[in-house]
Assembly symmetry: C3
Homo-oligomer: 255 residues x 3
């Protein structure tokens, strides 16, 4: 009854590059990164323009992509597992187009997968787009700040109140420009890079089903891809259960 | 790597009012109520006309709503978490319209969320509506009794046989009228009351997807809402795992 | 607060007949069968033409159905729980038509449920059908062999690399004919045999949702059925967690 296959014991050493999303900075991945390193993997978490220390509200998706590509090439990183969360999915797509030979696999974790020529806003229900446009106008500097109620109910639905408030207190306004940029992704869809989709199943940011959502709506655009699931929401599970997120990223990334 | 937020340790004390659904009475919530009280919360479980001790088959949705509202106002309950299961979702909607100032949050647990002017029957596949109409006619007194096979396979699919039989043995015919009443819900959709949807993912009562179902089909009508999920079916998980249901209700209800 | 129902303690003794799917043989069920027997159940795992020891590439669905029916009648098996996985779902449908009096319940585990007159290929996205036709033509003997990448990402997505490779190394080309046969299933849909659908939720073989997939797309064709869910993929979870699969099959099968 026993199997004649060698157990890997997860000894495969992977090189992760983790790309955070909107209303976030590199600290999004802090705990997950620590867990992955404890498991023996190498982890890089680039900050990108318009986020973290840089508060340029007029950053473009192209500038972000170039910065991430430069981060990877300047360190001569190879065979990388390029992971994107949320808006970071579009950066995975565009960066893979720039430096495909350095990328071993794309992993999308509740991340946008845009079709060629689409904008991120195209993936949102019209009332959300309208709300984002109003918030942009109200900002006076082309940024969007999420109201606390919306954040608490849909980005951090699994958090307790104090964690939701803590996460919100560290949140900065997001540059609005990249949400409305049409992306040229014709090359992405012809790349031979293997793809995985890690779906955290209690994410409330996008409608689940009925023409929207992370999975299966956007994941199916990847064609042949590896599906991994775990319970989790958009913003808080990486803080409350980073060990789970790390194990699932490895399931998504391994050979 | 540690967080600088105060853990709530779930010390927030919540006031639950739990509304059962069709083919049920207040005993539906018995074990869940005990678990919530053990966790330090206050719990009220009103019985309503046409159910429990009252077997009036001609009860109306308006009578039920008034009875629940009276139950709450006569006890001067405030800041309540108004939870509805199944048909109880419509009572949450209509009661919130009557006494919005007493309601802190609406929680729908595999519960109907009707659009303004709809009937509950509008949410069911046509063959189910047809079967319910025939059962109503066969009853001779405007009630519907579920056949055991249908109950066992779709309402108590996770139960073992003896539990399914026990639950069925306690079930009474359901007044048919409220299933076919058009509800005026125009006020509900303009109320500022926060909303949560607790989705028990193995519920077989409604088709899951393809235009029907608890989530996302009905939950999305809530607009911005907090999504919580747990494994469970429609009628038996509150009996076999009330601790899980209680914990998830708290996740749905807390600030 | 305690229930007045007799716990079954799963002492009900069930007679399972387990039907494997394409690119598989009876060894698919080996570990699950051992777990079910350990729980006290009786298990039969028929091999069928074109699979296992028999490599006839021109086998028909009718020949497979007759072989399974003969296996059951020659042993005089009664009150059987007829379980099908994947392509095995169609065999459950057609065998139940032949010998309905011997079948106590049908259980579909991520299995095809065809409508009357459909082919299995009708359930697949057009690009997959096209790929299968090309693989059939390339085979020279009317069979289809899955490329490793497709198998690894979509049939064994939860496996580690060594297990995926081991499973692939034992895989034989699948006779293509039965995938393109229209099945007469008019009798199946009028049989009074109870039905269950066990859905392993991380199966990547079919698109999940948007008009395709095991559940709810195909499961809903069963009408009234018992839904059971478990985490798992198409081919590897029966090897890595056969105890879970066995427990869930019992939940699907019991009275």
């Amino acid at each position: 009854m026993t199997h004649v296959y060698r157990s890997s014991k997860e000894t495969e050493r992977l090189n992760f590059v983790l790309i955070h999303g909107s209303w976030a900075d590199a600290s999004y991945w802090q705990e997950t990164s620590a867990e992955l390193q404890r498991m023996g993997h190498t982890v890089y978490v680039p900050e990108y323009p318009g986020h973290g220390g840089d508060n340029n509200p007029n950053v473009t998706q192209a500038q972000i992509t170039q910065a991430v590509a430069d981060y990877i090439t300047s360190r001569n990183l190879k065979d990388i597992i390029l992971v994107g969360h949320s808006f970071g999915g579009t950066i995975v797509q565009t960066t893979s187009q720039l430096i495909p030979d350095r990328v071993k696999r794309n992993v999308f974790m509740n991340a946008f997968v845009l079709q060629d020529g689409q904008t991120l806003a195209d993936q949102l229900p019209p009332p959300t787009v309208e709300a984002f446009k109003q918030l942009t106008q109200a900002s006076g500097n082309n940024t969007i700040m999420l109201p606390y109620g919306l954040f608490r109910e849909t980005f951090a639905n699994l958090a307790d109140g104090p964690l939701a408030q803590y996460l919100y207190s560290r949140m900065l306004p997001e540059p609005a420009g990249p949400l409305f940029e049409k992306l040229n992704l014709s090359r992405f869809y012809s790349l031979p890079i293997p793809r995985s989709y890690l779906y955290l199943t209690t994410d409330g940011v996008l409608p689940q089903g009925e023409g929207y959502g992370w999975h299966p709506h956007m994941s199916l655009r990847l064609g042949v891809f590896r599906l991994i699931k775990a319970p989790g929401d958009h913003m808080s599970t990486v803080k409350t259960n980073p060990g789970l997120i790390a194990r699932k990223l490895v399931e998504a990334a391994r050979d």
